[in-house]
Symmetry: C2
């Protein structure tokens, strides 16, 4: 055994903490390779130990200046807008983004196994998962190596312990329905997203809150499911219109693409937007400004979600869930109801 190989006495945690400018708990986490410690903090701790001659290998290796982004798919404007926000924050933080997507490479929509081989061959400072989440095995693998992960806009309930960044979907949906109520509507239908997706449940909850707060009954027959798809929303709205003696005076479509399906179904029934029926969407996608009439909707802060997720990944812990506010964007598809 050479001199360099001899283990040395670990300095007291409090000493390391003071020199690194972090808490004792953080030092402890860093030494234990916990995933909720940022690359920056690990580096600070490692530097203190190095200055004090403590062998490097006893500390989790300081991660490199690379962050992995795994998107569910690269086929939606949302993916692009989120990625744009991540890229901007990464540029400012001086880290490189390694981008990949699940696409249809796995049946369950989670990252393929080969992904970890790739990450293992590099020095990843952390992992951002956009609209996808790691398998249990992948989570364990990342945690073992102290690689932090953050989920953006989760499509299923995030696994315990994994921070998530999302729009304030409940508040945004409540604002949408409140806007319709403020215009004088009371017969308000809602076209909901895919059951089981957290944001779909949140938006329905927000709608119901607004209805309840205004003393309006949220009749289950006025709640139909459009699965976040334009075609499904078209069919659901057709069924709604066929089953009711009187059409609603307003429809809250829980995504802009479903609002386009609602437009189509109303058109088929000879109902005009907003003269006969007001329609409000959710997302503020490119389509919203370009359909006729231009769609009133709730803007999701896509780039801000991406930027906040990257910042959460590179800084210590933070809250388990970050919600960013939405914004009501009023265009031409909502108006007071026709006097009855």
């Amino acid at each position: 055994m050479t001199v360099e190989d001899q283990p040395q006495q670990l300095p007291k945690l409090a000493v390391i903490a003071r020199e690194a400018g972090v808490s004792v708990a953080t030092v402890s986490k860093a030494l234990n390779g916990r995933s909720d410690v940022s690359a920056h903090t690990r580096r600070l701790v490692a530097e203190v130990l190095e200055r004090r001659g403590y062998p490097r290998q006893r500390v989790r290796p300081a991660r490199g200046s690379m962050v992995d982004v795994m998107l569910q798919a690269l086929d939606s404007p949302y993916a692009l807008a989120i990625l744009g926000g991540v890229e901007d924050a990464a540029w400012r933080a001086g880290v490189d983004l390694v981008v990949s997507a699940v696409c249809d490479r796995t049946k369950h929509g989670q990252p393929p196994p080969a992904w970890l081989d790739r990450i293992g061959a590099r020095d990843s400072a952390g992992v951002l998962l956009v609209r996808t989440s790691p398998t249990a095995a992948q989570r364990a693998w990342l945690a073992d190596r102290g690689i932090p992960a953050v989920i953006v806009d989760p499509r299923r309930k995030p696994p315990a312990g994994l921070p998530a960044v999302a729009s304030a979907n409940v508040d945004g949906a409540r604002a949408a329905t409140e806007h319709l109520i403020a215009l004088g509507h009371s017969r308000i239908a809602v076209v909901t997203g895919r059951p089981g997706v957290p944001c779909a449940a949140d938006r329905l909850a927000g709608h119901r809150q607004a209805m309840a707060a205004a003393g309006l009954r949220a009749d289950p027959r006025w709640e139909v499911c459009g699965y976040f798809q334009q075609d499904d929303a078209l069919r659901a709205t057709r069924r709604l219109l066929a089953s009711l003696p009187h059409p609603p005076t307003a429809v809250f479509a829980c995504s802009d693409s479903m609002a386009v399906g609602v437009y189509q179904a109303l058109g088929e029934h000879g109902l005009r937007v907003p003269d006969d029926v007001s329609v409000i969407g959710f997302d503020d996608s490119w389509a919203a400004a370009h359909v006729t009439p231009a769609l009133t909707t709730v803007r999701q802060p896509w780039p801000e979600l991406g930027a906040a997720a990257l910042t959460a990944l590179l800084t210590d812990g933070g809250p388990g869930r970050i919600e960013l506010p939405t914004e009501l964007v009023t265009r031409s598809s909502t108006a007071p109801p026709r006097p009855s």
Copy 2:
């Protein structure tokens, strides 16, 4: 000088070439660190030299399994579609993509200087530039290190020696105008893209070729500039309609977004599409299928462009320019002219 430092006799190029399974010219390029040799080939050559005991440092280092993608911006569906194609090809090739964008970080729209610092700190197998091109200094830097570069969908004439991948813009535009001519149109206006952008010039050339081949005069008054922008196309079409005694019976808008501007201008003049005026676009963007009436257009093979560029980057040289075919997509915005 130690034994390891002593230079050894370089094997004959022909010997290396035979053993590596490549041409003598390629070996020469590899040894000279030329940027038009793939990482794979450099590795093959390096392996032969290593087997023969030739010191490693005399050969360009074999590059890693990472490719850099620098996009002009992350704000268009085209950027996303190209990136999707690159990602898919990269996944299949087993290389990681490091993604960044110019955005508005430089005045000239070329990659910022800090980009090279980042690449220099890693082991980049090559560089894909989407709708941007390197500065002369950046090109020299990349060439010095033997890092190959390929430009996708160039917005300016690519620098000599840099391969480019683009749609067959001349052919695609000719097909667009031929479609209008086949329907019976002869008074065909064209709304062109930004002057100086290669694809804008190519599409105008394709339009003129089709007009000439049909014996139709391409009157300069029927050629207006929309700068690839919806608003500029709207204004240009307004001016066109105001200046002509009779409106054209068809308009070729050299991008889908400009076609939307043409729709607006025609609507202002009480002209219906396609009853009064046929309109054809170029791109097959998301908008094309969603405007009313749905837009006949020329599909650009975005994902294929991205995939072809990555393949060109990872394989040897290939042609200086790769053109991929476009496809005419017939929808509801084109019809025979109204009988006069």
